[in-house]
């Protein structure tokens, strides 16, 4: 992995871009050299602000954690440090991971490096923007419902969500535990393969982490689609809005065929697809409301005064969360009430199972599924909102299928429309990251992406 900058320079570059991008929450003032000579020796790395780093403020972009300085490192921070990496900044995100715009951060919206009037996407928007602006070659994110892959597509970088259980979640401030996946942003596939090699592996602190050995993804990387069955997710690609996006997507399909891939069209019942968003929100909000019950101002975080312990908790939580997050807690609680669970939370879990079964069935016909990451480019900050109850469209939410199933899934840039990037999404069955990287590396050769954003670290 190569870095344009040393750790110290990277921190300065991020600082310099703050007025335009507002992508960092905390920038390490004077990053210290890391004596470890691992595969990431000297590489500056950005962490999403929900990844605990001992002694370095971690807020998850929430007011309630404004003063939170972790007393322990997330497992992946230890792994990065052992590999020689240097943490240079904590990046902005939608508060506690809740959102897809990065507008809902305590420090305000992050801006898209290609056009700062547009959103980065979220919730890992800060990490996406800082990778796109070339401040660092690797930024960590988390993906609960496309929170890495969507911002990666909007910002023109590679975003990888590995298999659930491939990377330890210990030390990651959660959003929805059954969907949360640690992943990352890079600007090329070999870097992505190496990053996963460093980050993956069983962690006894995370009972959901896999015991499967970690392959040598980087060393074994073979850019090829030869003989691979690639399923084109027509239910989604048929809905691409812009002609130039449609054209680029279809051209890629043809190029893949020319490169030796066997193309098959795959589709899924739209009735089922329409359930993706409500199922996602029901499960995610329910788990989130419990996961964030620890944020009460009693043992850590921002404490607001009150006459009793109960009042302290209520006041701290009321002041500490945005109204949007509070609304999601209420919705989450509502779906867990005894009288509602059967028709909301449990029903959502049952439908999640149906969706996963249907998605899994698609892989009987192919090794990988190719889809547009989104059917349009990043919207304007002013015009975007996460508060759009009942207005979700499945073509914008389809990447959540990889969260429901836990399958590894990545996005990578395909082209530009109106100066803003758009991308593709590639997904493989569980633990088949090598296959995913091999195909993505070939696609990388085919696309030969050389575009640069307007905001570039100098």
């Amino acid at each position: 992995m190569n870095s344009k900058f040393s750790a110290k320079e990277a921190a300065k570059a991020i600082e310099a871009l703050q007025p335009e991008l507002n992508a960092a929450v905390t920038i390490v003032e004077d990053p210290q050299d890391n004596p470890n000579q691992g595969p990431l020796a000297g590489i500056p790395v950005v962490l999403k602000d929900n990844i605990n780093s001992k002694g370095l403020r971690t807020t998850a972009s929430s007011k309630i954690l404004d003063n939170y300085v972790p007393v322990y490192d997330a497992t992946i921070v230890e792994k990065l440090t052992n590999a020689g990496a240097v943490i240079v900044a904590k990046s902005s995100m939608d508060e506690l991971g809740m959102g897809g715009t990065n507008r809902n951060a305590a420090t305000g919206p992050a801006a898209n490096p290609w056009n700062t009037a547009h959103i980065t996407g979220g919730s890992s928007g800060g990490s996406a923007a800082l990778t796109a602006a070339e401040t660092v070659p690797l930024a960590i994110g988390t993906d609960t419902g496309d929170s890495i892959r969507k911002p990666a597509a909007y910002c023109g970088v590679i975003g990888v969500k590995p298999t659930y259980g491939r990377i330890s979640r210990y030390g990651i401030i959660p959003y929805a535990s059954s969907l949360d996946t640690v992943g990352f942003f890079t600007r090329n596939i070999p870097d992505a393969a190496l990053a996963l090699e460093v980050l993956a592996g069983r962690d006894d602190h995370d009972m959901t982490s896999s015991f499967l050995p970690v392959p040598n993804y980087a060393e074994d990387l073979k850019p090829s689609v030869e003989g691979k069955n690639i399923g084109v997710f027509r239910t989604v690609s048929d809905r691409i809005v812009r002609p130039e996006m449609k054209e680029a997507f279809e051209k890629l399909v043809k190029d893949l065929e020319a490169a030796g891939a066997k193309i098959v069209d795959v589709t899924m019942d739209e009735k089922l697809m329409n359930l993706i968003a409500p199922v996602y929100k029901t499960i995610a909000n329910a788990e989130a409301t419990a996961n964030h019950s620890n944020l009460d101002g009693i043992r850590f975080g921002v404490r607001k005064p009150g006459a009793s312990v109960e009042e302290v908790m209520t006041n701290s939580r009321t002041a500490g969360f945005s109204s949007y997050v509070r609304a999601r807690f209420v919705i989450g609680s509502y779906s867990l009430f005894e009288e509602n669970q059967d028709r909301l939370f449990r029903k959502a879990q049952k439908i999640r199972r149906l969706l996963v079964d249907a998605y899994k069935a698609l892989f009987e016909k192919c090794d990988l599924i190719l889809a547009p990451a989104a059917v349009d480019v990043a919207p304007l900050i002013e015009e975007s909102s996460d508060v759009r109850f009942g207005q979700d469209r499945f073509e914008e939410e389809h990447m959540q299928l990889a969260n429901f199933s836990g399958y590894p899934s990545l996005t990578m840039p395909l082209g530009l429309a109106d100066g803003l990037p758009f991308g593709i999404n590639l997904t493989a069955p569980a633990f088949e990251e090598q296959n995913l990287f091999d195909a993505a590396a070939k696609i990388e050769e085919i696309i030969d992406w050389k575009e640069e954003p307007a905001c570039l670290a100098k």
């Binding site: 929900n50 322990y72 990651i172 535990s177 602190h205 009972m207 959901t208 419990a290 009460d296």
Partner: protein, 473 residues
Amino acid sequence: MSREVTIGIEIHCELKTKTKMFSGAPVSFGAQANTNTSVIDLGHPGTLPCVNREAVRLAIKACAGLHCTIDPLVKFDRKNYYYSDLPKGFQITQQFHPIGKDGYVTIETEDGKKNVRIERIHMEEDTAKQFHKDTGTYIDFNRAGTPLVEIVSRPDMHSAAEAAAYVEALRRTLFYLNVSDVKMEEGSMRCDINISLSYDPEKLGTKVEIKNLNSIANVQKAVQAEIERQNAALDAGEEIIQSTRRYDEPSKQTVLMRKKEGTVDYKYFPEPNIFPIRLDQAWIDSIVNSLEELPEQRLSRFEKDYGLSSYDATVLVNDRDMADFYEEVMKHTKAAKKAANWVIGDLSAWLNKNGLNFAKNPADPKAIARLITLIEDGSISGKQGKVVFEEVMKGADPDQVIKEKGMIQVSDDGALLEMINKVLDENPKSIEDFKNGKNRAVGFLMGQVMKASKGQANPKKANQLLTQELSKR
């Protein structure tokens, strides 16, 4: 007609593990506040639970000892509520799939033996401990995350005595199995007792819960007091309010803690951070098959092998250390009944007097056994035995003490007859009383014989010879 009392009991028991249910922090009672915690116990952001295998093992033992069906698929759930002693804002418990179901425990009261059914046993984590003082609320997180089993009975008990017997039976079983310290006074065993009264056994009355009981004696007193309170209230035409009460020792009454307004919705749902764990059946079998002897098994063994009365056996078995010591003594003597008397009586009293208990018993079982044998075979009298006992407890050898104190009992017929006839000659009045049917004259004469022998006469032999000589006169 009196109202039928229905009692169900929930018991929380801290498991005797080295570390917590879901973290590696040590478990210890009485450590300095907030020294035995970890980021996991404190509910820091990003922490995840890791199931303690030893806690599961102990829970399986509890299930086996209480005759429960063990579910080999271990699942955990979240119980959600906000309270300052609950760091995560939820407790990890087993709401939907308890590890044990449908067991029972045998209890014994004056009315005989009966089985109380156990509905379920589940694993969970303890909360932190709060101290409310004038200067504010203080929280000690040492207890947070301590492994617990909660044991829920069926409403099978109908009196204070049964409630106390049930708690005692559970306490004894869990102690014998080394599952828990079961110290009610330290809170490692806590019981919540639900009581309701009704004329119609099909339709239960409003239930009242009693919490914070620190001894089995108080379980009985509290339940009795609550039954009386509810009866009096119902007699006076009052309504029973669903509430939680505690037992106030000075007034011997239950006191209202809080009313229960509706049931709390804990919004239980499966814990997403712990996948279901399929236990290896061979592992479960190895735990179940190597279970320690259960108290009821020991009871019947004591009655059968040692011929002890049910009462003696129960007293011994109730205190495992006492029963262990008794068994050590019985390796060196055949006088089972006498040994039981000495262990339950003199030795218990001595330990008590010296501020000790059977767990810290300094007595040498071999020496105690020798002392008992010497009394049993008439070498010394029981009275002499008490003197020897005091010396034995100081570490002396019983034979040595007897020798030094010249205590050998007089069992020789000739010597005894001489003493008896001398006493009879000196007490013609008593002989006359005896002949007039006054039996207490024998007692008086026996006393005189013992006095004449300076306490060294074998009382059994002397009594026999005295009766014989009296009839000759």
